[in-house]
């Protein structure tokens, strides 16, 4: 299994990667920090990965997307699956006060992802097999006053993936939307933890299992499917008054 992981230094991606490493996968790790990528690469190698390569890039730099894809295809002579696991959790309040900030958030979490997906979709469609997995969020299921910039970005990606799924199904390519709930990772370091927070390990393992099973849309942990079903059905007039 030749796996491209974009955002490989994120906590969830690392945990998922550990599962793939135990299977002896070959992995191409993409991230912004060469030092962190190297640490992750060493870890995965010890854990059993047949081969690990790293590539440094900031996905906000759209010009570099094609080079990244060329690099992984050249290194591994093709890709079997891609996992998009990168993103930022910005400051909602800052975004409210600044157009630039909002656009930055949206670029990282939405438009850069769509750009990468455009390239990946064409590649996988061309070889008529493979799996594209993207971590969005339950926040994308309904706009909430406390994080709607993040939610909108993730929601847009989820919608895009829905359409892509339709297009890719005739090519035999799996398009997987992964929606984690609240997860205990460096991204949520500033948020007070409660019992509903899942561990990065649990979510990472959920990502691995969903990719192996070639699912379509998964909530991780699974009970979030039920929670969001309820959240989605609350009438707007009531929901707009909710404080969270």
């Amino acid at each position: 299994m030749r796996l491209l992981i974009i955002g490989a230094t994120s906590a969830i991606a690392q945990e998922a990667a550990k599962c793939f490493a135990a299977d002896g996968a070959e992995m191409f790790l993409v991230g912004r920090s060469a030092q962190k990528l190297q640490a992750v690469a060493s870890d995965l190698t010890v854990r059993g990965a047949k081969r690990v390569e790293t590539f440094v890039v900031d996905l906000d730099d759209f010009e570099r997307h094609a080079a990244m894809l060329d690099a992984v295809i050249a290194a591994f002579d093709g890709i079997d699956a891609a996992l998009l696991a990168y993103g930022t959790l910005g400051d909602q309040r800052k975004c409210e006060l600044s157009v630039a900030e909002t656009m930055r958030e949206f670029t990282t979490n939405c438009t850069s992802v769509l750009a990468v997906l455009t390239l990946l979709a064409n590649y996988f469609e061309g070889q008529r097999r493979g799996c594209i997995a993207v971590i969005t969020s339950v926040a994308g299921d309904r706009g909430r006053r406390s994080n709607y910039v993040y939610g909108a970005a993730k929601g847009a990606v989820s919608l895009f993936l829905q359409g892509l799924r339709g297009r890719m199904s005739s090519a035999g390519v799996c398009v997987l939307t992964i929606k984690p709930g609240l997860v205990d990772t460096p991204m949520t370091a500033g948020i007070k933890k409660g019992p509903i927070f899942a561990s990065a390990r649990a979510v990472g393992q959920g990502v691995y299992r969903a990719m192996q099973a070639r699912k379509e849309v998964v909530y991780v942990p699974r009970y979030w499917r039920l929670i969001m079903l309820v959240v989605r059905t609350i009438p707007e007039r009531a929901f707009k008054r909710v404080r969270f």
Binding site: A39, V40, S42, D43, V46, R47, G48
Partner: protein, 401 residues
């Protein structure tokens, strides 16, 4: 501040009341594994469980293992843990080639028996007080099978145990005994002596025994569950459960090394009042007399120890300044916490241990006095020089006052 791994120490050596704990659980990466020479380097927060999962399928084992695999490498070094093979392999610290220590000044120091030697010796068994271990490298031992060939023999007295141990320690890499100390009389104790060796016949190297015993104590049990009567009844059953005097069998290493790990939250058996662990070592000279006095004092108290473990420590010296194991007899006991009564009992035991030139194990301690600590660990002043000025623990503040 104080580094915190899995918090498996029984008392306050891993706590820092009113202070800061450095959560080392994020230091959980492997760095390098030299499969040819059997040398592993990993961050200090990696657990022995994760290590075994990786190394066993590739024909390697950890050189020294404590009674649980849910401990971090940093914790194994900080407590200089020992295992059933102390008489052959010494402590965990004996197998560490080097580690990197981060001090509060920001300094990062590579410590080994050759480099920053004194700091290395202070950190091994140093209870996390010298700084934060970032990563460590240690030697592994080769195995061809995950199985342990073991023998279990009944013994009816301490004298019989000593004779058994002297002979068995030559034949077996791993030895340990479960004992019943409520038996009284001149026998002092009776029990089951367990000896084991790595199976030499090659077989499939599996990290887990595969037996999923989903045992977990779901909540604190009522206080009367473990009391001297039930303990006595259990002891009787357990001692006689093995019908033959000597039993031989082959089993996976997992239940041999980590029987308690199979029961999650086993500490809840003691209920809300909890329990105190007490492990001591008394030197071989006067060892019999010291044991006799200790066991007599325990019997006088009417307290029973639910899980009592006895072993002979060997002569291999650890590099650690505050290392606990030394040649002699070591006994680990647990007592349901009954307030002052229990504390007085343990203070009396401390006195006997001290008089015989022995020591009490800090990793299990929650109440030893400063005076006794300083007697048990004569190199404490030498050690204190290497403590990081911004590091401290509840244990240290207690034993230094």
């Amino acid at each position: 501040m104080l580094p915190y791994g899995f918090g498996r120490s029984y008392g306050d050596s891993c706590l820092n009341q009113d202070g800061v704990l450095l959560d080392a659980s994020h230091l959980n990466r492997f760095i390098a594994f030299d499969e040819a020479r059997g040398i592993l380097r990993c961050e200090a927060g990696v657990s022995l469980e994760e290590i075994l999962d990786i190394i066993v399928p590739r024909g390697w084992f950890i050189p020294v293992s404590p009674g649980t695999k849910f401990v971090s490498v940093g914790g194994a070094i900080a407590n200089d843990v020992h295992g059933k093979n102390h008489h052959r392999a010494g402590t965990f610290g004996c197998h560490v080639t080097r580690f990197e220590l981060l001090r509060s000044s920001g300094e990062r120091l590579i410590c080994s028996p050759q480099e920053n030697t004194e700091l290395f010796r202070a950190t091994v068994g140093g209870l996390g007080l010298t700084g934060l271990i970032l990563w460590a490298e240690f030697r592994l031992k080769p195995i061809v099978s995950p199985l342990i060939a073991m023998q279990r023999v009944q013994f009816a007295s301490l004298e019989e145990f000593n004779a058994l141990s002297a002979e068995a320690d030559q034949r077996y890499e791993y030895t340990v005994s479960w004992v019943d100390i409520l038996v009284g009389g001149t026998a002092l104790c009776r029990g089951l002596f367990l000896g084991g060796n790595h199976e030499q016949a090659p077989s499939k190297l599996t990290a887990r025994s595969g037996k999923k015993i989903p045992l977990a104590v779901p909540f604190d049990l009522p206080a009367f569950t473990l009391n001297p009567l039930t303990v006595k009844a259990f002891n009787e059953l357990y001692y006689h459960a093995q019908f033959a005097k000597k039993v031989e069998k082959v089993a996976h290493y997992e239940p041999f090394f980590y029987p308690l790990d199979a029961i999650h939250h086993w500490n809840r058996l003691y209920g809300r009042r909890g329990f105190l662990q007490y492990q001591f070592v008394v030197p071989f000279d006067h060892g019999y007399d010291a044991m006799r006095d200790i066991l007599a004092r325990i019997r006088r108290s009417g307290e029973g120890s639910f899980l009592t473990v006895l072993k002979q420590f060997g002569h291999i010296q650890s590099p650690g300044m505050l290392s606990f194991p030394r040649p002699g007899l070591t006994l680990a006991l647990d007592f349901a916490f009954g307030g002052q009564k229990t504390l007085r009992l343990l203070d009396d035991l401390d006195t006997i241990v001290r008089a015989s030139g022995g020591a009490v194990y800090p990793a299990k301690d929650a109440r030893m006095s400063g005076a006794n600590f300083r007697a048990f660990f004569p190199r404490w002043q030498e050690f204190a020089q290497y403590i990081d000025p911004r590091f401290s623990s509840s244990f240290w503040r207690r034993v230094i006052s």
